[in-house]
Amino acid sequence: MKKYIYISFFWLAIAFSACQDLDRDFVTTIGRKEIEQSFGNVQSLLNAIYSDIPDGTLYIGGAAMMSSATDESEFTAETNPVQSFNTGSWNAINNPDLVWGTYYRGIRKVNQFLLSTGKINLDPWKLDPSPSAQSVYNTNLATIKRWTYEARYLRAYFYFELVKRYGGVPIINNTLTLEDDFSAIKRNSLNECLQFITAECDSAATQLPLNTSTLPYVAATDLGRVTKLTALALKSRVLLYAASDLFNTPSWAGGYANPELISLPTADRSARWKAASDAAKTVIDASALPTLGQYKSLFNTFNNAEIIFTRSNGASNQFERINSPIGFNLGQSGNTPSQDLVDAYEVKVNATTAVKFNWNDPAMAANPYANRDPRLGFSIITNNSSFGTPARNVQIWNGGLDGKPIINASKTGYYLRKYQIESLNLLNGNTGVHSWIIFRYPEIYLNYAEALNEWSPGNADIKKYVDIVRTRTGVAMPPLVTGLSQADMREKIRNEKRVEFAFEDHRFWDVRRWMQGPEYFGKPLTGVDIVRNADNTFKYTPVKVEDRAFNAKMYLYPIPQSDLNIAGSLIQNPLW
């Protein structure tokens, strides 16, 4: 009998020993713990934060630029979501520029990165008493410290990208988990957000090298990193926005119950303008100023002294495919500049005089692209100008190779030249690097001039810095005349910003902060109708391209409806 009981136990033993371990046989992925141990892997975490910096070249729907949501251009494909901005059909559910989640993703990466930097295992060097190991240890310690400031700057930059769209947003500087109570998350006031951003800029500026050629940065490997100048430049932009009308005029919101979310507390505007001009002057005084070089080639490079910070990309020719004129191989017309923008480029009468373009002047109207600010030709393909590889003159006249009535030909009578690397032969599959410049010196100069003109009109520095931009190499527009009134100077500065920074994603925000939305974005967009005469001359007639919609609520973006539904404490922006 006993024997059988033993046999039974034997069976049971077999059964239970067969009970296998249900853990994975092998782990194929690397987890946070493994990443945080290693110096090199944590650096890769930082690289991934850099990759969240926006690229404005193929921005909306993988094709359109933000310029096509402004009076700068019209995107040719009607199906691109950017058209919602122009028809006014964007809202809390449908927003073509839906970056709310994107930037919070970047912010989350930074929050986690700042925890990871404390966990890197440097013991192999720390515990090795040899001088070389100790030197590596100290360098690595310093590098890790520098990384934290690069990351914190980038987080501040992401916050500002949110703030300029949404006003005050929730400042989330811890890593949220699924267990957190999302309904407790509230928007911080605009003032809190801007103070947080400028404070982060200040601390980054004190800790980071001046530029990417300043040790410990070495340009060969570190070009493109955040520097002291980058941090100061962001601060300059932030304080300029803070001083501008939009954030100081809550009345547009029509009695909105939470003005602190969309405007700053009432205070002395002059002090705000002064803070803005001081911030710009700090950038100017931080180092020797570069000579502003050729305008056209600036947008085909990522290595130029004028550039303070740029978003780097791999080589591609997608931008050329999207934006080449329709008659060129693989061209799709893309973002086509408007007549409104073309008209903003001044006419150079002589070495000292430049005047506004005027269609009523028969000489100008007959030959509208003669004697214009050279930046027109650098940024925009006008009719019968040469383009591309292999090069030919672009025929935008009615019946021309690139003009109506060809399907998807430019609706405005112009094509985009800025950023296009014209030497690429698309049929051969040539590619080039398209970097997206985020800060360059002329912005700082114009920030300085704009702010100074508001609190200290007549200051000699105003004209000085606008002229540096106007008279840059290869542009050489006549300097501004002396003795302009404050209002005239304001107009000049705004126009300079418009032409110098066309297509660089400034217009959308500048018009909003100047509160000129109805004036520029609420009127029909214009283009030009081109007829070729029998003698091969052309007749140019301005025409309406399409109606554009703008109303007050569009000064800020609506908070996404899905997040409002989930996080009940979030408050929607005015009038949405």
């Binding site: 990759s51 989640g101 570190d222 690097v433 996404p560």
Partner: protein
């Protein structure tokens, strides 16, 4: 094999080797797709000079089968198991214990011999001579690749404790089982051409189950069973699921008050309620097999004067350590009865509540969380329905015997919760609709010449699909929603709504009848389905689209003359983005009644057959899919495109020696 008085062993082994040969470029779908697309006048199969016809646009279907080499698939299967059973009668009568191990292996290799053929299109020269185009494709020599197509390796270890005993009128049986299995799959699920480290990570389960059945006097039956299952794809705390179920039965006809009833011969009521689990959620849209572990990847950038690429580590979808079994609660109640001796009736009602279905978490996690959110066990569906079966069987003693069986099943299902993202057009929410409900544009006739004239003045007065120049005779769609939730003069994704029914019919009925008279027998199977919608897509129905041909469905197309009677949009020689949108225009009622099979047979007289030492011999004719009644004029609702439903007619002779 009996090893001792109490111990027995059973060893099974089975194996198979299969080999198949196919033309290399042959796939059923591809071949029928090409046949559907090819315009009949595109090119001759063979040119006058015996080369293959074809153009740069179309390949030659005959040449594809004959001149592209061949693919040989070779698969080997071996299944083996060893089971030892020991009677434990010395402990208590009716108890036994057994253990089993099985090892199963499958391997399929492919031997692919590739070649290409040149094809030439011909045209007529000025003098009426035949001109040959430059060749499309080159004649190549046969090149070969040897590849692993599919394989699995599986190991199962099981142990059972069985108990079965009768005490007077009570029957008691019980079972305890332990199971541990492991399978490594390396096949189509994880594309063998691009193996990843995860490809051969084995799927593993541990489980235990128990069952206890009690029957009293063949009248009352009760059963309780439990399952406890563990899987390796969930986090340690969430691996095991407990799945109990219970059922009861009552055979009322065994009770005294019905025992000798003339009209009710048999009557049984049954009911069951249980919970089952599903861990096969990877295929249902989980990007990673291990949703409970976080992963990192992507997010590279460029630094330095050389714009040097550097790698990044970005957090992928947040890990969900709580992901666990999908569950289904099923309630079943049923009645089986035999009345008037010959009529069997059976009725079943079911209600299945699926819960914890793994779905995206759009509606519960905010975007400011800042990370791709995980799929959560949040989805819920409900399905209810019934099955009815009626069968009449004639007395088996008579010369004329027959039976008629009718069955019907019906179900209705509903998505109870789907965690959907916010939609502008509230008609697009799938929650509350049937599983598989199609959403598309609603077609409301054709544009008239008047509409086009109005459009010239104000394009938004007559809404249309963007990017296409609309002409009279194009399909017109209902404008229901714009970004503001009201008609906006543009037809786009926001104008979609529920159209038609899901493709799966929810009412299926069958009729099965048989007749036997002396030596003749006759059998019929009918099937009918309804409440389903089919879609007329692809080259058979959409004329000239994707370089296709035109089919008879387009005969009554729109022309200015037939504007009032047309039932097909105007023809366009190039792809038309307006007319061939996914819309109600191309939907049809998919109901049908089919004679699935019919058979007539004659059994030769025994007197005749015994003379040639044959026991029985029967001659028969069988036909399948003999006829269909449906509302679709131009095809079979079950297979509108691709491999067609086949009608077969078989003449047979069956001999028993």
């Amino acid at each position: 094999m009996t090893l001792s008085k109490r111990l027995s062993a059973e060893f099974r082994i089975a194996g198979s080797v299969e080999q198949s040969n196919n033309p290399n470029a042959y796939t059923t779908g591809g071949t029928f797709g090409l046949l559907a697309q090819l315009p009949p006048n595109a090119f001759p199969v063979y040119n006058p000079n015996k080369t293959y016809g074809g153009t740069s646009l179309y390949s030659n279907p005959v040449a594809n089968l004959l001149s592209t080499g061949f693919a040989q698939n070779n698969s080997r299967t071996i299944l083996s198991s060893l089971k030892l059973t020991e009677q434990l009668d010395f402990l208590t009568q009716g108890l036994s214990i057994s253990g089993a191990v099985s090892i199963n292996n499958y391997f399929e290799s492919g031997s692919r011999k590739n070649k290409q053929y040149p094809r030439y299109s011909i045209s007529k020269g000025v003098a009426g001579d035949t001109l040959y185009s430059p060749s499309v494709g080159q004649l190549t020599s046969l090149s070969g690749t040897e590849e692993t197509l599919d394989q699995y390796r599986n190991l199962i270890i099981q142990a059972f404790l069985n108990y079965k005993r009768t005490f007077g009128r009570s029957d008691v049986s019980g079972m305890l089982m332990f199971n541990s299995d492991e399978v490594t799959v390396f096949g189509p699920a994880s594309d063998p051409a691009v193996p990843t480290a995860n490809s051969t990570d084995p799927y593993k389960h541990n489980g235990g189950a128990g069952r206890l059945t009690y029957a009293y006097d063949n009248k009352y039956i009760a059963e309780v069973s439990v399952g406890y299952m563990g899987t390796e794809i969930f986090a340690p705390e969430k691996r095991y699921g407990f799945f109990p179920s219970a059922s009861v039965g009552w055979i009322a006809s065994s009770e005294n008050f019905l025992k000798n009833n003339e009209s009710i011969n048999f009557l049984k009521f049954r009911g069951s309620y249980g919970l089952v689990g599903n861990d096969n959620i990877v295929s249902q849209g989980l990007t990673s097999r291990y949703a409970y572990t976080p992963t990192f990847g992507g997010g590279g950038y460029f630094f330095g004067t050389g714009n040097t690429a550097v790698g990044g580590f970005a957090e992928n979808a947040i890990a969900n350590p709580n992901i666990t079994w999908e569950k289904e609660r099923t309630l079943n109640v049923g009645v089986d009865a035999t009345i008037f001796k010959n009529l069997d009736v059976s009725f079943d009602y079911f209600n299945r509540e699926r819960s914890d279905i793994v779905v995206a978490s759009n509606s519960t996690t905010p975007a400011f969380l800042g990370v791709v959110t995980p799929s959560l066990n949040q989805g819920k569906t409900n399905s209810q329905g019934f099955d009815i079966l009626l069968r009449y069987r004639s007395n088996s003693q008579k010369a004329l015997q027959f039976f008629v069986e009718a069955n019907m099943s019906y179900f209705k299902n509903k998505i109870v919760f789907n965690a959907e993202s916010v939609q502008l057009n509230t008609q697009l929410y799938a929650t509350g609709t049937s599983v598989g409900q199609p959403f598309g544009l609603k077609a409301i006739g054709f544009y008239s010449a008047d509409d086009i004239a109005k459009r010239l003045i104000d394009p938004k007065s007559v809404p249309s699909v963007l990017t296409e120049v609309i002409k009279a005779g194009d399909i017109k769609y209902q404008d229901i929603g714009g970004p503001e939730g009201k008609p906006d003069g543009i037809i786009d994704g926001n104008d979609r709504m529920m159209i038609g029914n899901p493709g799966l019919p929810n009412l299926i009925a069958g009729l099965n009848a048989g007749l036997k008279y002396k030596s003749f027998d006759f059998n019929l199977v009918f099937q009918a389905v309804t409440n389903n919608t089919v879609y007329l897509g692809g080259n058979y129905f959409q004329a000239f689209q994707s370089n296709g041909q035109i089919a008879p469905i387009a005969l009554n197309r729109w022309t200015p003359e037939t504007a009032n009677t047309a039932d097909y949009p105007r023809l366009s020689s190039k792809d038309n983005l307006n007319n061939y949108q996914f819309s109600s225009f191309w939907q049809r009622d998919g109901s049908f009644i089919k004679l699935r099979s019919a058979e007539i047979g004659y059994t030769l007289p025994t007197a005749l057959t015994t003379k040639v030492k044959i026991n029985t011999a029967r001659i028969f004719v069988t036909g399948t899919n003999l006829f269909t009644i449906s509302k679709i004029e131009y095809g079979d609702p079950e297979s509108l495109t691709g491999y067609p439903v086949t009608r077969t007619l078989t003449l047979g002779l069956k001999i028993n020696l």
